[in-house]
């Protein structure tokens, strides 16, 4: 099944045409940084170490749309990168770890986004909220690490 995806004529063209693959890769890195950076700033704000004067809910409203646009772009471009070598990527255990971490990080980011409005009503941000934000931040760091480990451990990418 994955070989069939890899062998689609337009996927083959994408994988073997230098500028096309580069464009997809640039989109992937770029939108990934944009997504993670936007979430990280809100996490740091909830933790009380960034933009302390700014209302948490307002900052979340400003940054989360960018985070999700970045997330969608990174997912689409990532899928194309996967498709060009799907047969090798699909069975990779470290890649499975990466995909799982992305899913968990995205869910926790959504919890932070929803929570920001509730937490903004308190005079002081609850400690539990700060812990959730810290977990969100650490999850993204571990996600990046898992991505960096794929070439190191499995020679892919």
């Amino acid at each position: 099944m994955w070989e069939a995806l890899e062998n689609l004529s337009w996927i083959k063209t994408l994988g073997s045409t230098g500028w096309m693959y580069s464009t997809v890769a640039v989109t992937h890195y770029f939108s990934m940084f944009w997504c993670i950076g936007s979430v990280a700033i809100v996490d740091l704000r909830v933790m009380g170490v960034a933009a302390r004067k700014r209302n948490v809910a307002e900052l979340a409203d400003q940054l989360f749309p960018w985070a999700w646009i970045g997330f969608v772009l990174a997912t689409i471009s990532g899928f194309f990168m996967f498709a060009t070598d799907a047969g090798d990527w699909a069975p990779s255990p470290v890649f499975h770890v990466k995909l799982t971490l992305i899913a968990v990080s995205a869910i926790v980011a959504y919890v932070v986004q929803r929570g920001a409005h509730k937490w903004a009503l308190n005079p002081e941000i609850p400690r539990a909220a700060k812990i959730v934000a810290l977990i969100s931040l650490l999850l993204w760091v571990v996600t990046i690490l898992s991505a960096s480990e794929i070439p190191a451990l499995e020679g892919l990418g």
Partner: protein, 161 residues
């Protein structure tokens, strides 16, 4: 000039951190992690300001406020990028300075984008007094985004050369 650069690159490769980045298989992903984590914070904060100058997204805060409140983490992010980048560079410095994509990245796009960013960030205090920013501000913000895309593009090309 070139000889000095090569000598410096060779010296870097011989430093303990140069050795570690190059020869330890477990260290490299961690060093890349430092570089990428910093890049996320750096680019995330840069774009938050650029997009606000452009008038895109939520406009409750002015661009001047956004520039001011993100200033500290913007530069903390940059310090993290620089730390990771310097370590990555130290590992195979001589190969990097001979790499055409790296030369474009570090020799042209990074200095240009960095200077541009400093100017945009400083000028945002004036441009961003009101909710709607002047045309100059929007053009400058758009140019900054394009310059960082150039930086990432050059970086992605490094392994191909």
């Amino acid at each position: 000039m070139h000889d000095t650069l090569v000598a410096f690159a060779k010296w870097l490769e011989g430093t303990p951190w140069g050795h570690t980045t190059r020869e330890s298989i477990w260290a490299y992903p961690f060093v890349q992690l430092i570089h990428f984590t910093g890049l996320s914070i750096w680019l995330g904060t840069n774009f938050a300001l650029d997009l606000r100058l452009l008038g895109l997204g939520k406009r409750k805060a002015t661009a001047a406020q956004v520039a001011q409140e993100l200033f500290a983490w913007n530069w903390i992010g940059f310090a993290i990028v620089l730390t990771g980048g310097f370590m990555l560079f130290s590992g195979i410095a001589t190969a990097f300075i001979a790499n055409i994509a790296f030369q474009w990245k570090l020799g042209l796009f990074v200095p240009l984008a960095l200077i541009w960013h400093v100017v945009v960030q400083r000028r945002a205090r004036d441009w961003g007094q009101t909710l709607e920013c002047p045309g100059t501000a929007k053009a400058a913000a758009l140019v900054e985004i394009l310059l960082w895309i150039c930086v990432v593009t050059a970086a992605v090309q490094i392994p191909n050369h």
